[in-house]
């Protein structure tokens, strides 16, 4: 398993898309952080960049990578290797590469310019998003036989979580505004890893007060130790469940 991870990483760290992705993230974070006088503002802009770009790039890049390496996967599976090992090793390689790109592109500049708990939370949620969306890409790869359909599904999933989900949530809040919906809302947010990441960082930035009564409730629950553990557990589930389903489905997949 370690051998496969090592060589997948060797290949990906020379990959042009990964290099360009890192450079763009780095350019964005350096320019945003060095321009503003207010550190919170800079981090907020970076948060928005992270929440918008990381999911869609992670899922698209990983899906395309998995589909493109299908012949090599076949060749390796003709060796005495378990299917599970092969699948998880190539996932780890891709997730690692995307994680490294994020750490170099956003993590390092943020640590240099405005190091603090909020910066750390931003890095952790960005890393989680990279891992979660590449896990979803793996699931797409296992479920679809056709590359084009797979890429379509990847785009839909990324748009759903970054844009559509919040719209649905807003309409839910609007139509039930007369009822105490804070608690169900908390549950619903757990269904979207992008929102989980957003809330985690916002709470550290002390802008939660601007979110009104719901913000206060979120702060009370999610700001506590149990709350943070809950959010991390949710994000872990978002990695583990797609991986588990992929491994199960891959056992029976015809290559």
């Amino acid at each position: 398993m370690r051998t496969i991870i090592k060589y997948v990483l060797l290949d990906l760290l020379k990959n042009k898309t990964i290099i360009v992705y890192t450079i763009i993230l780095a350019a964005l974070s350096v320019s945003v952080l060095s321009m503003g006088s207010n550190a919170t503002k800079g981090l907020l802009s970076l948060l928005n960049i992270t929440l918008l770009f990381v999911p869609i790039i992670s899922i698209l890049f990983s899906t395309i990578y998995f589909f493109n390496s299908i012949e090599f996967t076949e060749l390796l599976l003709a060796q005495p290797i378990k299917r599970k090992t092969m699948l998880l090793a190539s996932y780890t390689g891709v997730a690692f590469a995307l994680g490294i790109a994020y750490i170099i592109g956003i993590g390092v500049p943020v640590c240099i310019f405005s190091y603090g708990p909020a910066a750390l939370t931003l890095i952790i949620s960005g890393l989680f998003l990279s891992l979660i969306f590449s896990a979803l890409a793996l699931l797409i790869f296992v479920l679809f036989k056709d590359k084009t359909k797979g890429i379509g599904a990847a785009i839909i999933i990324a748009l759903f979580f970054t844009l559509l989900f919040d719209g649905l949530l807003l309409s839910f809040i609007y139509s039930f505004s007369d009822y105490p919906i804070e608690k169900p809302l908390l549950g619903m947010i757990s269904l979207n890893p992008v929102d989980l990441g957003r809330i985690l960082v916002l709470l550290q930035l002390d802008v939660a007060v601007m979110m009104g009564y719901s913000g206060a409730l979120f702060k009370k629950f999610l700001g506590s130790a149990t709350g943070s553990i809950y959010v991390f557990a949710c994000m872990m589930f978002w990695i583990v469940i797609p991986l588990f389903l992929s491994v199960r489905k891959f056992r029976k997949k015809d290559l």
């Binding site: 290949d11 003709a78 060796q79 029976k252 290559l255």
Partner: protein, 242 residues
């Protein structure tokens, strides 16, 4: 060495393999022939465990291969299309396979030298031509001196010199008592090395005979004439019915 019983595989309504039973032994070179879409690659992939059949049993040296994976250490596989990670060099690919197969200490590097691979070791896979990639695939299949070789269109895309070299190597391995399975469309390429012919059509096994039997039966000498004559005489219905 490989025994296949009642193997059936379908993709939706399309039956890629329909109740195939075959028995391959040591020292045989078997050519899998048949038109496109006749189930040759599906058969090969079922043996490798890449395709999961719905029915039937495949045994290699007596053990059923279901959900097993260790048996693949006895097989050298050369795929029809060799695509490798773009930024890996030829040397890295070879080293990667060697590291995966830690159980094997003796490497058969005759093809690596014979096909001139050392000259490409530092080139990335992306920059190689289709034929050179095919050479890398061939080297990997022979590297761990397995007992069974499964070669999917091995000579397609190779230049005549390399193709001859590969054929000599195949003949040599067969003389060492290895089992070799080849699919090919180029009959003249398998002519001198093959001992048995399996003919598949629409997932059905049409025949499995030695080349000698077929020559006597048809009275033809050249393999492509033999096959052509059988296709016309024996199976006019299946050929023209569709």
């Amino acid at each position: 060495m490989i025994s296949i019983e009642h193997l059936t595989k379908s993709y939706g309504k399309f039956k890629a393999l329909d109740d195939i039973s075959l028995n391959f032994e040591r020292g045989q070179t078997i050519s899998l022939l048949g038109p496109n879409g006749s189930g040759k690659t599906t058969l090969i992939k079922s043996i490798l465990g890449l395709v999961i059949p719905e029915q039937g049993i495949i045994r290699i040296n007596g053990t059923e291969i279901k959900t097993q994976f260790a048996y693949r250490s006895q097989i050298g596989y050369m795929p029809q299309i060799g695509r490798y990670p773009d930024n890996m060099t030829v040397g890295q690919v070879i080293n990667m396979l060697k590291e995966i197969r830690k159980d094997c200490k003796q490497y058969d590097e005759e093809l690596i030298h014979g096909l001139g691979i050392p000259g490409f070791l530092n080139k990335t896979m992306r920059s190689l031509s289709g034929g050179t990639r095919q050479k890398v695939s061939a080297c990997l299949a022979f590297l761990f001196s397995p007992d069974i070789f499964i070669l999917d269109e091995p000579t397609a895309g190779l230049d005549p010199v390399s193709s001859e070299f590969l054929k000599d190597k195949i003949a040599k391995e067969r003389a060492n008592g290895k089992l070799i399975l080849i699919t090919s469309h180029v009959l003249s390429d398998v002519e001198d090395i093959t001992s048995h012919i399996v003919y598949l059509q629409d997932g059905h096994l049409m025949f499995y005979k030695t080349v000698e039997e077929l020559r006597q039966q048809t009275g033809e000498e050249k393999l492509n004439k033999v096959i052509a004559s059988i296709m016309q005489k024996e199976m006019p219905k299946t050929i023209y019915a569709q």
